[in-house]
Amino acid sequence: MIKLAQISKSFGRNQVLNNIDLTVTKGEVVVILGPSGSGKTTLLRCVNYLEKPSSGEIAIGDFKVNCKHARKKEIHQLRQKTAMVFQQYNLFRHKTALENVMEGLLIVKKLPKDEARKRSIALLEKVGLASKLDAYPSQLSGGQQQRVGIARALALEPEVILFDEPTSALDPELVGEVLAVIRKIAKEGITMIVVTHEMGFARDVANHVVFMDGGVIVEEGTPTELFNHPREERTKQFLKRITPEFNYSI
């Protein structure tokens, strides 16, 4: 179980997150929605300390970090329990697809090379890239790169995978292949927190949808609750704008 408590974050005088509380149970797929600037990506990046929260507490299972005085070692442990899939893929550019997936297994998990290789190949097969093991990121399409990114995250067997707008940088035709992979691993019961603008995906795959605006969680609930019966006015406005097919009146 992952528990964020009273997470706040400011960049200078600009408060981006304001006392966020969020609980994610094991195996749950949480989708965070919200307009740009609402703080959803910042919140996600706080979970693995790519952004340092100004205050609050992050708990993954029994492991707790108090953000006001987190030590280097704690941050390192936190990062070993999480993995992230980035909007811009961020594959290691000087390593092949296979080496990208193996890197964490070799260096962080300290697996022997054969074992790391075997596991990495299996994961790349799972994301449909068995034929691209030796390709460098520059030789792969955006969708393929992102699937390598997902394999790299899966390899570490983290407690949670954080997806930061995983399809936002993709060509529209490539979005489907990446969402299909994410859907597949969601069904395997891997805990995920996903920031996305893909409403269809949120509706189908999420167990829990969170709507953020202005650095706070405005509303959260099951997809049915949030999409079909939003309570807050701000949520209704947002959904109306982003899913025009439901309420389109000119």
């Binding site: 693995n48 300390y49 790519l50 390192h76 990062r79 070993q80 999480t82 993995a83 992230m84 980035f86 811009q88 961020n90 594959l91 290691f92 550019r93 000087h94 390593k95 890197e103 964490g104 260096i107 962080v108 460098y136 990121p137 520059s138 030789q139 790299r152 995250a153 570490l156 954080l162």
Partner: protein, 236 residues
Amino acid sequence: MKLDPSFIWTALVQILSAIPTTLYITVVSVLIGFVIGVAVALIRLYRVPLLHPLAVGYVTFIRGTPMLTHLLLIYFGLPVLIDGLAVHFGWSFRSVSIPMIGFAYISFSITAGAYMSEVVRSGLLAVDRGQLEAAHSIGMTTPQALKRIVFPQALAASLPNLSNSVIGMLHGSTLAFTVSVVDINAKAQIVASTNWKFFEAYLAAALIFWALTFLIERVTSVIEKRINLYNRGGVA
């Protein structure tokens, strides 16, 4: 005065004996300079307290003064310092036992360090921040991430500039003659003045420098090709 083409060859053969000296100076100053450069670049990028202003001062002073001046400052300043310390602490070591080439090693390393720190810094800045974030996200520590992810890419990005620095140091090493080190150029001067054929001797020296530089260019291009295998994109 008439050109004596055959003497170019004679001079060339005689100058060959000075090539190792030039190469020693170049290799030592480039290697030590590279280590200094990496350290200074990291200190500046991470804004290490106390060391940061020192690093900035070092780079601006060294880049703001000629290489020859560095050599003369070290040549005349270092003995005073060493002997002063030796007397103070009662060491038996005296500066006279430093070989002349030692001054060239020290001063050119300092020179190379300042220039190379800027090369390394630009290489590090060329690596996308996302690379470091991705390394952190899979649980690597910052030193692991720098060593395995950032440095290899930074090195690839700075290779053309590094080769420039190496060539610069090769040519700059000729200044060592001011402290009586017999490098290629000094040797040419010796050969020239004993035979009164200056133009021929310097022409021979020029050919040797050109050949060495050509070699450096070739080696760089081979390394560049291998190291940049992954870089299929880009404008080139």
